[in-house]
Amino acid sequence: MVGNRMDPWIDSYAQRAQGLTASAIRALFSVASRPEVVSLAGGMPYVSALDSEQFAQIAARVVREQGTVALQYGSGQGDQTLREQILEISGLVGVRSHPDDVVVTAGSQMGLDLVTKIFCDPGDTVLVESPSYVGALSVFRSYQCNVVHVAMDEQGLDPQALREALVTARVNNSPVKFIYTIPSFHNPAGLTQSIDRRQEILAIAQEFKVAILEDDPYGLLGFEGEPPQAIRSLDDQGVIYLGSFSKIIASGLRVGWVIAPHGVREKLVLAAEAATLCPSNFSQLTVSRYLAEQPWQQQIKVFQELYRERRDALLHSMQALMPTGTTWTVPQGGFYSWVTLPHQLNATTMLPRAISSLVAYVPGTGFYVDGQGAHNLRLSYCYPEPARIQEGVRRLAGVIEAELDLVNTFGVNYGDDGGRRSSPSLNPNSDLV
């Protein structure tokens, strides 16, 4: 007798869809959208800082004056003018290229997907930082890649660990297709590679003849000095560069880009056409007009100042309120700080208590494919206003205290749990503000 599995196609799905299941963690996040909850979880840019009236006028003019183009299919590679403007922006992080080598995508997430699609067969190895961006891990898993985490230190990706991972892959006859890295204001770790570190990583990649996939959505959102120069600025043949307007204009526009060596670019365009035919002309023309008519560099400065103020609110609050033994990284830009819990508390187990206490974060295990990160969590400071951040940290500190009490009551040591290991404590809080 056969029962009902509530999905008549359950036996038809591809192997890669097996991991697409419901999860209690996702269910908990549904509460985070309620206004009562201080969400330090999502990395939503603070689009309220934009002049929405200006945007409305730009969008209206796009339709009124360029409607036959904006509402029509377009080039699979993206609008020519926008690609030239993208190079102007990328020049701020030292990336020099030709508009022909730019592919416009529906956010850099699509760029990630396309690059993985053209490089990776099932089982191919991809090296990623430890921890790494959850959205990238989802893409790599969906293409059934063998994802290998490489350790980080205070300056980001650890060259020695990278070399060892490449040697191991070679010994195992498991060629590495690319090294995925977020060198500036890392998501989730909040770290930034120095220029020396970038050169070192690039030299190793060149030695092993492995491409670097450089993801740089936050590069222009530093809080001090000039923007860090992209790895791509050091090598335009060995580095594929992903950029995005999501954080410097608005994520809802869904416009990002890939800058790639010529051969890679050709394949990306064909893959992009197969996926979506073309990126949204309306969004592209809106972005292009915004860049042409508005003081966008000034707007980026507004974002930098706003996020710095929020970063400071987070760090000051943590310094004042977090229980002893809690450590965190000090981001010099971007959206995130990576927290290590005291006494190896488990951030996933603690999440229901946090949600009940009306504060949300992302448990660290989400940034690994192998169960690491149990003692870590990511805090985002980009969206809540400073007073809300302070309140969120106050609630979170209370949650950690309560969890410590619970763990002490039962003598539970998560360090021994399932052989999982913690990622290193990246920066002690004594290094803070």
Binding site: T21, S30, V31, V37, N346, S356, G411
Partner: protein
């Protein structure tokens, strides 16, 4: 007629509740085309709107369908407010909901001997008395395997099966994340069934039991809400006399707890045919993969039809 479907809320079952609300709303709009069916997320404004003329000029709701799962929705909280305001609502009253929501209290009130051996303790008891000595006594007294679960709440959140003594303390830490009291209960194995009871025109009717076979072996959150992860048999594969006994048992639970309108009793039937009580739900899930809609369909009824009748009953009850 204006019908409010209350879903969402502020606990871990919010997403499940929203899906339940959408499902019932769609079904009711079809069954009652002249009614105004409004999905509402519970908040202070909603409570203000009850029993008064709202700012929009509409009357208050004629009937409320509480589909908030977990705390506030399934305990006495929301239902007490509705009773104080005199608003008709579908489902059990505040006192019986409170009894049912606490698995420890409910287990003490169901037909004698049908709840597996259990204890229920607050966290403070472990802290003040010393967890190791309590756990030694509990494990010796209840035996392994045992199940650790929050005393209230649903969707198997915070529930863990412990087959070894060293699994119990981490399971308690997990469960206490969902509430201040936790139940430790002897695990029973057998056929897992969910039995829906509907009050239809003053007569309690047990719908065909839904037999649950999770592919992973454990009916946890993922198995409950991922289509394909669990195989359901309706009617169940049990012998007709067992099915009849299970139905009668669920009706007895419904009556012994003083429930109203609709309930879902979860049981295990072991290899000897003994029926074991797990829990009862006064606001059961109504999502695409939930158990009650399957039972309703197997009985030849429709979700819209059942809820439309319950709406009439709720209104008549207050009038």
């Amino acid at each position: 007629m204006r019908i409010a479907i209350l879903s969402g809320g502020l606990n871990a079952e919010r997403d499940v509740s929203l899906r339940s609300g959408r499902r019932v709303a769609e079904a009711l709009r079809e069954a009652l085309p002249n009614a105004e069916v409004i999905e509402v997320d519970l908040n202070g404004e909603f409570l203000d709107s009850l029993g008064s003329q709202s700012d929009s000029g509409h009357d208050s709701f004629d009937v409320v369908i509480p589909l908030i799962h977990g705390v506030i929705g399934e305990d006495a909280t929301l239902r007490s407010m509705l009773e104080l305001k005199g608003i008709p609502f579908i489902g059990s009253g505040s006192s019986s909901a409170a009894r049912s929501f606490d698995k420890g209290i409910a287990s003490g009130l169901v037909p004698q001997g049908s709840a597996p051996k259990f204890v229920a303790f607050p966290q403070s008891f472990f802290r003040e008395m010393g967890a190791p000595r309590i756990l030694d006594t509990v494990i010796a007294g209840i035996g392994l395997p045992l199940v650790v679960k929050p005393i209230s709440g649903g969707s198997a959140l915070g529930v863990r099966l412990c087959t070894a003594a060293e699994h119990v303390a981490p399971a308690l830490v997990d469960a206490f994340g969902y509430g201040d009291r936790v139940m430790l209960q002897r695990a029973v194995s057998g056929t897992e069934l969910a039995v829906t009871v509907i009050d239809s025109g003053g007569k309690l009717m047990a719908l065909p039991p839904v037999e649950i076979v999770p592919l992973s072996g454990v009916y946890d959150f993922d198995a409950r809400y991922t289509a394909g992860a669990t195989e359901f048999f309706v009617p169940s594969r049990l012998a007709p006399d067992v099915v009849e006994r299970v139905g009668a048992y669920a009706v007895a639970v419904h009556e012994s707890l003083g429930l109203r309108d609709i309930s879902r009793t979860d049981v295990v039937v072991d290899s000897s045919g003994v029926i074991w009580f797990l829990e009862v739900n006064v606001s059961p899930g109504m999502t695409e993969t939930s158990l009650v809609p399957q039972a309703i369909e197997a009985a030849g009824l429709s979700v819209g039809g059942v809820f439309a009748e319950l709406v009439d009953q709720a209104v008549a009850r207050v009038n």
